[in-house]
Amino acid sequence: MSKAPKTIKPKERDTIIQALSAGVVPRVGLPHIQVGRAAEIGALVRDIDRIADGGAAVRFVIGDYGAGKTFFANLIRLIALERKCVTVHADLGPDRRIHASGGQARALYSEAVRNMATRTKPEGGALAAVVERLVTDAVKEAGERQVPVEKVIDEKLAPIQEFVGGYDFATVLKAYWRGSEASNEELKLAALRWLRGEFSTKTEANKSLGVRTIIDDDNVYDSLKSLACLTKVAGYAGLLVMFDEMVNIYKLQNAQARKSNFEQILRIVNDALQGNTANIGFLMCGTPQFLLDTRRGLFSYEALQSRLADNQFATKGLVDLSGPVISLQSLTPEDLLVLLTNIRTVFAAGDPSKYLVPDEVLTAFMAHCDRRIGEAYFRTPRTTVKAFVQMLSVLEQNPGTKWQDLLGQVDVPADLQSQQEAVPEGGAQPGDDDELTSFRLGT
């Protein structure tokens, strides 16, 4: 997979290193470090093409903590941006989920739309640009055809009006246009707030924009569909929606709440697989437990289990990437070696003469990890990468340090997303906590 070295911009380089050493996925420059998983990427790229062609897609990216789900999904997202899609993404959490009645679904939607990205605005906050582009085009077209702008907007948005609540999308966009005509920033902002799902009451929205509905818990999916249509009208290829940390649904402490979320997911899956929706794709990342657990995972919901179950022939290294579930395979030792090589290249900004360590260090480092945590480090590259980046950072900032001395100190813990909680007064008693930090209910 390694290609001829090309130079890496300093800003990109620093962003990558900072992110990796914190154990998170960089927002830019992913292709510089990506290794393996070529087949999976290929399948997703075809999905994106289908979205752009007026089709739909849904994928569940399943992998253990630290297996690189987020990395993978972000890579796909960047590819989607390259191919003129608009992307929105959000992590699920205790207060953000797909179905809810207490505002948590709206919160997920708002977070996702705040993160809206386009190729020119890959870092998010692109909603205003998308809307502006749509409105500008409409104004231009209205001028050419000598018709009122509002009529053009209505025409353009005709497909949206078929969706639940779609009528108000048009109303809001017209309000935005009036706002820009009259230099009424307040009105423009209100329109964007409405599109981001930031109005919490209908009265308030009606007062500001003259609409009767708001984007709320019960129409989040429909609003995403409308949004997809809007991006298409604005001249983009379509909308890719990425939901990460789906395990939060599995973690819901109420069977009914889980079921309602699964019902919503089933709608998304059915619509996508049956071709009921257009220009929209969903990418949902979660752990194997989220998928497989028959008490609280997706598989606890019969209709989803039958649609998402593995192809029974795809075992022992054989893969079938046509189903909606993509199980991230472990990286091979070769993949990992390439990954470390890529990281070394990033540190050197693409210049082989500036490599901080010789090739032998890469293999020595892998051998060290193998001794420390065994084969698990193939499955969860996050900690391995983090440790490696930190080691290189020390070498870089302390010229003269010997890598041999550092290697022995490298600690690669097993990947646990242990939650850091606020400790109440008098809570923590250091020293007596070992039993609970690593506590596991017996098997």
């Binding site: 973690k251 402490q253 909680e421 007064e425 506590f439």
Partner: protein, 746 residues
């Protein structure tokens, strides 16, 4: 001494208050602040410590706390409640609401009632714009944590003061553990923990209350104790003896089957009711009946007497199984004071619901708890210059040639005298440590998992354990408990791949039920209705069938219809009656000091003037028996095939000793003064006791193996046996170490 509030510094207190509060005080026509009020004002406004106010009911504690607190929060603009007032009773909240409403309105500080029966609209308004004061029950706080965690944070985390009313009622029992845990959880989400202000009746051990109020730093709690203004106490103890062969001292009048059928015999309760009827009519009084059954049976008798005498009935029952409407009707009637009213009640009217002052308090059955008696007494003599009046009606069994020594010792009479002696001495027992630790911890673990949507084991431990209600739980105990809760047999919790603890299948069921919010148990119950009006509830184990008879709410009914689906009984009035059995009677424990005092009463020969003639006779009979058995020097007494051991210790030590005997292979039953070992002679018992006396290194854990029903509380079924035993060991260890000495003294 100085007159109230004129001591050094205290006169300044008034001027520290907000001008609007000063105007309110003038409008109330108060001529001065009471001393406790002035001291509290200084403590709240001139200092930043936690505060514990201890004073008798009606000493103005609530105003003492709220006047300066309102002053302090008057200018506050932050979102979220400024003050949480936590009270054990909904009725008390309604009361406080009425008292605060006007004052708060004039200061434009919102105040909201927040409990299960409070109006939804007001709660909703407060939910949208949380501000001011929330008067709330522990169960409503729990419900908020579990059902609306985000709102809980928004509403509760910015409080500056948390006022806990009737704090003494939280010092024992699972509910106290529960509230303490909730306080800890509120602190955990607060940026700056709120100051805590505890309002307590006069209690035996203020240190305990300080530790409860701020477990982390009890020394930083300022104690403000009101000088008691003890009114004159008028006291009478009246003795009654039951007829022979009585099975049920609380049966309905006219019922019960004596040896000669159809000839109703008069039992003690009949005569007691006669006396109550004669003496109490025309005034407001409280009659405490011990159990709901006694209350119903007595109220029924008093109503019948009113009917027979063709006078309006003024006796009504009040207990936890009666509908809220009936209870409130009675409370209002007492408070209004227009019609003379006597409430026959259980401990429901012991806590500080405002019912005005009553002329006298009567107590059916000899009391055991001084703390509780003092509370009850605090209901009378509240107007200056009026005395407190207390009547104790004690019931003793009939003595014939079949009667045992214990009956002949006249324990109820002796105990009544002992209680009065301690009352006059001013003794109040300290609170007992609640044994429901593990059960309550399970409840809180489930609650936090729901609140946080899953949590790791370590953060869960740190949040709940440490100084506070679960201080005795080590990490090892906690891990043991987690494993048990996660086991296939329990399935309360399960664990995600990242270690997060989540509710298991059974945990989800428990967590979803409405009864989850309370740590006390709520059993399934029949609902009694008549003419579309709910009278109250009957325990499920009460046998019901069509045309069954029942005495309830002081009236007699026949079951006309029952609906098993909705658990409803439709009843209509009927002349016949059977008094239902309610809760299994949990005997109040006796303190060491009380039993020691009983011994002194036996040894003394004074005849207290407050005893009536019959009670005097009973006292003499008891003392005679004591002397006859030579209990001054003897501790072992054979009776037929059994042997009594007289320990002269309180309930806890006696129970522990009984467990130690079980360890030595002896079956024994506990009684007031010690234990009775069955089928053994003194000569056989002696060597075993000597062996016990030599066990200087007796291991409490070994003894715990012989304690029956060691798992207690709502979730006792889910408590692992070993944990229950080791918690018992920790609570009773000291007593166990005392066993050899107890055995030696016999």
């Amino acid at each position: 001494m100085n007159s109230p509030a004129s001591g050094s510094g205290l006169e300044g207190a008034y001027h520290l208050l907000h001008p609007k509060i000063r105007r309110w005080i003038r409008d109330q026509g108060w001529d001065e602040l009471r001393e406790i009020q002035a001291r509290t004002i200084l403590a709240v406004l001139k200092d930043d410590r936690d505060i514990l106010i201890s004073a008798t009911t009606a000493a103005g504690k609530t105003e003492a706390a709220f006047l300066p607190i309102l002053t302090s929060i008057a200018e506050r603009s932050a979102s979220g409640f400024s003050v949480l007032y936590i009270s054990p009773l909904k009725a008390l909240i309604n009361d406080q609401f009425r008292r605060l409403e006007g004052l708060c309105e004039s200061m434009e500080i919102p105040v909201v009632k927040w409990h299960g029966d409070a109006p939804q609209a007001e709660k909703k308004k407060a939910m949208n714009k949380p501000d001011g004061i929330a008067l709330i029950t522990p169960e409503s706080i729990e419900a908020m944590f579990v059902r609306r965690p985000a709102d809980a944070r928004r509403l509760l985390s910015a409080a500056e003061f948390i006022v806990i009313d009737e704090l003494h009622s939280f010092l024992q029992g699972p509910r106290g553990l529960h509230v303490a845990s909730l306080l800890r959880r509120i602190d955990a989400m607060a940026v700056r923990p709120a100051r805590r202000v505890g309002l307590s009746a006069t209690i035996g051990n203020l240190g305990q209350a300080r530790v409860w109020l701020r477990p982390r730093d009890p020394t930083n709690v300022e104690e403000l104790v009101a000088k008691p203004d003890a009114p004159e106490l008028r006291l009478q103890v009246r003795g009654y003896v039951e007829p022979p062969d009585l099975d049920d001292p609380d049966h309905a009048e006219g019922g019960g089957s004596g040896p000669e059928q159809n000839v109703p015999r008069r039992i003690a309760l009949d005569s007691i009711s006669d006396h109550l009827f004669e003496t109490l009519r025309g005034e407001n009084n409280l009659v405490f009946g011990g159990s709901r059954r006694t209350v119903e049976s007595t109220a029924d008798r008093l109503r019948r007497r009113s009917e027979k005498a063709e006078v309006p009935n003024e006796f009504y029952p009040h207990h936890g199984s009666l509908s809220k409407a009936l209870r409130e009707e009675l409370e209002d009637r007492l408070k209004e004071g227009r019609l003379p009213t006597t409430a026959v009640c259980t401990s429901t009217l012991e806590l500080g619901v405002d019912i005005g002052s009553v002329k006298s308090v009567a107590q059916i059955g000899a009391p055991r708890s001084l703390a509780s008696l003092k509370q009850r007494l605090g209901r009378t003599g509240r107007r200056r210059g009026t005395p407190s009046i207390l009547r104790i009606y004690l019931r003793e069994p009939n003595i014939d040639n079949k009667s045992g020594f214990l009956d002949r010792l006249r324990l109820n009479t002796i105990r009544s005298v002992a209680v009065v002696r301690l009352l006059l001495e001013g003794f109040v027992e300290e609170a007992r440590a609640a044994p429901e630790i593990a059960s309550t911890l399970i409840h809180q673990m489930l609650s936090v998992i729901m609140e946080r949507g899953g949590i790791g084991p370590k953060p869960l431990y740190d949040l709940l354990c440490g100084p506070g209600p679960f201080a005795s739980i080590s990490t090892a105990d906690f891990a043991l408990l987690l494993r048990h809760l996660g086991s296939q047999a329990v399935r309360f919790i399960e664990q995600a791949g990242d270690g997060t603890l989540m509710l298991g299948q059974e945990g989800e069921k428990v967590g979803q039920s409405r009864s989850f919010f309370a740590v006390f148990e709520s059993n399934e119950e029949w609902r009694l209705t008549t003419g579309g009006r709910t009278l109250g509830t009957l325990p499920i184990m009460h046998p019901v069938h069509k045309e069954g008879l029942v005495v309830f709410a002081g009236q007699r009914w026949i079951v006309q219809d029952l609906d098993e689906q909705t658990m409803t009984l439709v009843v209509v009035p009927h002349p016949g009656g059977v008094v239902p059995r309610f809760e299994p009677a949990a005997g109040e424990p006796a303190h060491d000091r009380l039993i020691a005092e009983m011994r002194k009463v036996y040894l003394a020969d004074d005849v207290p003037p407050y005893l009536d003639a019959r009670a005097r006779d009973l006292l003499a009979e008891g003392r005679d028996m004591f002397r006859e058995l030579d209990l001054e020097s003897r501790s072992l007494v054979e009776e037929e095939r059994d042997t009594h051991i007289f320990l002269w210790r309180g309930s806890q030590a006696t129970a522990v000793f009984s467990a130690a005997l079980a360890m030595a292979g002896l079956q024994s039953g506990v009684h007031e003064l010690g234990v009775t070992v069955s089928k053994i002679k003194e000569s056989e018992l002696r060597p075993i006791l000597s062996k016990l006396a030599e066990m200087r290194n007796i291991d409490p854990h070994d003894v715990s193996q012989f304690v029956a029903n060691i798992k207690v509380g709502k979730f006792r079924e889910q408590v692992p046996e070993n944990l229950a035993r080791s918690l018992w060991t920790r609570q009773n260890g000291e007593t166990v170490t005392g066993i050899p000495v107890m055995a030696e003294n016999i």
